[in-house]
């Protein structure tokens, strides 16, 4: 039972950065923009949050610093993709490389000492319930915040006018422009939001999940988040489920390594990447489902006619 609880809570925690990053990217893609630079924004978030802690700033400020760093990084992409109408693939890649460089540069003096991680909260009374208490009510606040963000984003996208406008822009920016919506401005906001969320994801990695600084510590989690959005066929609930699936995969292979299964640890570590490929292949078979929720203008530059 203890092992089960450990795997369950580990899964939820490992999924948290993926939930942040993938939900953020979902909003960006729903507006018709493809930002491949999540990995770079996450690394920026991780580095700035860690930097704030090293500088002696309190935890909430550090997390905010991470989020803002991600947003600032996303602005670079936004200017290129939205104002300068560049190829979004190339702009996103540039951001991924740039972010990894900036974070490594910042992190050169961080040392390898761990910091005091974000504290877990034991929710009064609820956390004392046998089994369910330790499973659901003993996480750090960011875990709950990620779940809250899931509800907020689902509600925004499908239950508000703002969400409808955002999705319209993703489907047909020409139409939205003709009706009078500021397509470029709204896309900027979406990109900034995606950056904020990727920054949060990175901050979570460096101040709560690991909590120490390792160069390129995201280890592909930004790219996996991108895959999650495709896997989820652009629907929030599936992003959540997908993130838990991958979180579970990460924890299971870690448990496998800890139990000393007679498979080399490197090969176990490769499992999440392999699973990403397998899942992508399976989901790609269902073209109809992909087409149904795919933002039709994704990655196509839009220039309002004057």
């Amino acid at each position: 039972m203890d092992l089960f609880i450990a795997i369950f809570t580990g899964t939820i925690i490992a999924a948290t950065p993926l939930i942040f990053a993938a939900l953020g990217e979902l909003v960006v893609e729903k507006s018709g923009v493809l930002n491949l630079g999540i990995e770079g924004m996450m690394l920026m978030g991780a580095a700035f949050a860690f930097w704030a802690i090293v500088a002696g700033l309190p935890m909430p400020v550090a997390i905010l610093a991470g989020a803002l760093a991600g947003a600032a990084a996303s602005l670079l992409f936004g200017v290129l993709a939205l104002t300068f109408l560049t190829n979004q693939y190339a702009a996103g890649l540039a951001l991924a490389i740039f972010g990894s460089g900036v974070s490594a540069f910042l992190g050169r003096n961080f040392g390898s000492a761990p910091i005091d991680a974000l504290k877990k909260i034991y929710i009064p009374y609820l956390s004392d319930i046998p089994v369910i208490g330790p499973m659901l009510f003993r996480f750090d606040p960011m875990v709950y915040f990620a779940i809250i963000m899931f509800f907020v984003i689902s509600w925004f996208l499908y239950r508000t006018k703002g969400g409808l406008v955002l999705r319209t822009i993703g489907e047909s920016p020409e139409t939205a422009h003709a009706i009078g919506y500021p397509v470029i401005r709204i896309r900027y906001l979406a990109v900034l939001f995606g950056g904020l969320m990727a920054g949060l994801a990175g901050a979570y990695l460096s101040v709560a999940y690991t909590p120490l600084w390792v160069e390129n510590m995201t280890a592909g989690k930004g790219w996996i988040s991108l895959a999650l959005v495709v896997f989820a066929t652009w629907r929030p609930l599936r992003v959540l489920l997908g993130a838990w699936l991958f979180g579970g995969m990460t924890i299971l292979q870690l448990q496998g390594q800890a139990l000393g299964i007679a498979v080399p640890s490197e090969l176990l570590s490769a499992l999440p990447y392999l699973a990403t490929i397998v899942v992508l292949v399976i989901i790609s078979q269902n073209r109809q489902m992909l087409a149904l929720h795919f933002p039709a203008s994704l990655a196509k530059p839009f220039r309002p006619a004057t």
Binding site: I97, F105, E266, V281
Partner: protein, 339 residues
């Protein structure tokens, strides 16, 4: 051709600003970054040595990029090429055979192509996005390399270091001069550049690839198969990256260790873009990118600055290049208030 030059100049400007902010004399640092490394014969040898894999890989990748086939995993294909080549070099029964080097060459090329064939098959037959698959395969390749050098392929006489035994002399490219590391593998890159030029400027297949990239609907109407473009693009990139990996093992490295490339596979993507996806431009782009790597190492050794600066410069260069394109393709015009 103006955009790459403008982007380079702007990158240098931002670079000097960055140095100034960090408290270093901008001019002296720029000189240490971009000029001093080339001041000696050894520097020039290192310059070409690093430019060679970048240009080679960028040529292969550009074939795919022309057709909008996004192979982002050249780093992984390089690693697998190096693995296969080194495997042949280590386990071929006669370590002094003249056959060894050609065998390693083909092993590297075929292994790189095989690794790239996975995303090609998945995209062409299974409709799966090649960007994500090539990237995931890069992580897997890195882990595979790490496992081999920590485990089965570790040199028993290597004091427990995670590395393979050194390759025999017959498995290595001859350096032009034993004082420097530059070796005969640069001729492979020269041939690749020529092939790239033939392909893009003189072949029907190259033309079809360009049409597929520029106007997919026209390409389909003309009967050019998309899957052919996908296979050609990915296999060209995989072969080039695999050969580059082989040339690293048989050149400057001489053995495998957990980290065999400073990110050539990723940097080559930028090289292909700076080079405007054509052979001549890629040569210039590769020389520039190689200088960024050299400069990063130089300021790390001489000024104690981090080599991560190289990646920052790479990112900035690509940012400016993309932005400069905008001003070339569009003209800004003031619109009267009440138009």
């Amino acid at each position: 051709m103006a955009a790459p030059v403008i982007a380079t100049v702007l990158t240098l400007l931002v670079g000097s600003l960055l140095f100034a902010v960090l408290g270093y004399d901008p001019l002296a640092t720029l000189q240490a970054f971009f000029i001093t490394p080339l001041n000696s014969l050894n520097g020039l040898s290192e310059w070409l040595l690093k430019a060679s894999p970048l240009i080679l890989i960028a040529c292969g990748l550009a074939v795919g990029f022309r057709a909008n086939v996004w192979n982002i995993g050249a780093e992984g294909q390089l690693i697998i090429g190096a693995l296969a080549a080194c495997g042949v070099g280590l386990f071929y029964p006669n370590p002094d055979s003249w056959l060894l080097l050609p065998l390693m060459f083909f092993a590297g090329a075929i292994a790189g192509m095989a690794w790239a064939a996975i995303p090609a098959f998945l995209r062409a037959r299974m409709n799966t996005n090649e960007i994500l698959v090539t990237l995931m395969l890069t992580y897997i390749a890195t882990l595979l390399l790490s496992w081999l050098v920590h485990g089965p392929w570790r040199d028993p006489a290597g004091f427990n270091y995670p590395q393979t035994a050194l390759l025999s002399a017959a498995a290595m490219f001859e350096p032009f001069d034993y004082a420097y590391r530059l070796n005969a593998s640069v001729f492979i890159t020269v041939v690749a550049v020529f092939l790239m030029w033939l392909f893009t400027d003189r072949s029907f297949l190259g033309y079809k690839m360009s049409v597929s990239g520029a106007a997919p609907l026209a390409a389909r109407y003309a009967g050019f198969r998309e899957s052919a473009a996908v296979w050609t693009g990915l296999l060209a990139g995989g072969a080039a990256a695999g050969i580059a990996g082989m040339a690293e093992v048989s050149g400057p490295l001489g053995q495998l260790s957990p980290q065999i490339s400073p990110g050539y596979g990723f940097a080559a993507i930028i090289v292909a873009f700076i080079g405007r996806l054509n052979a001549f431009g890629i040569v210039l782009g590769g020389l520039l990118m190689s200088l960024l790597f050299l400069g990063g190492e130089a300021v790390q050794m001489n000024l104690g600055l981090s080599a991560a600066l190289t990646r920052i410069f790479q990112g900035i260069l690509l940012f400016f290049l993309l932005a400069a394109d905008f001003f070339i393709f569009y003209r800004l015009r003031r619109i009267p208030e009440h138009a």
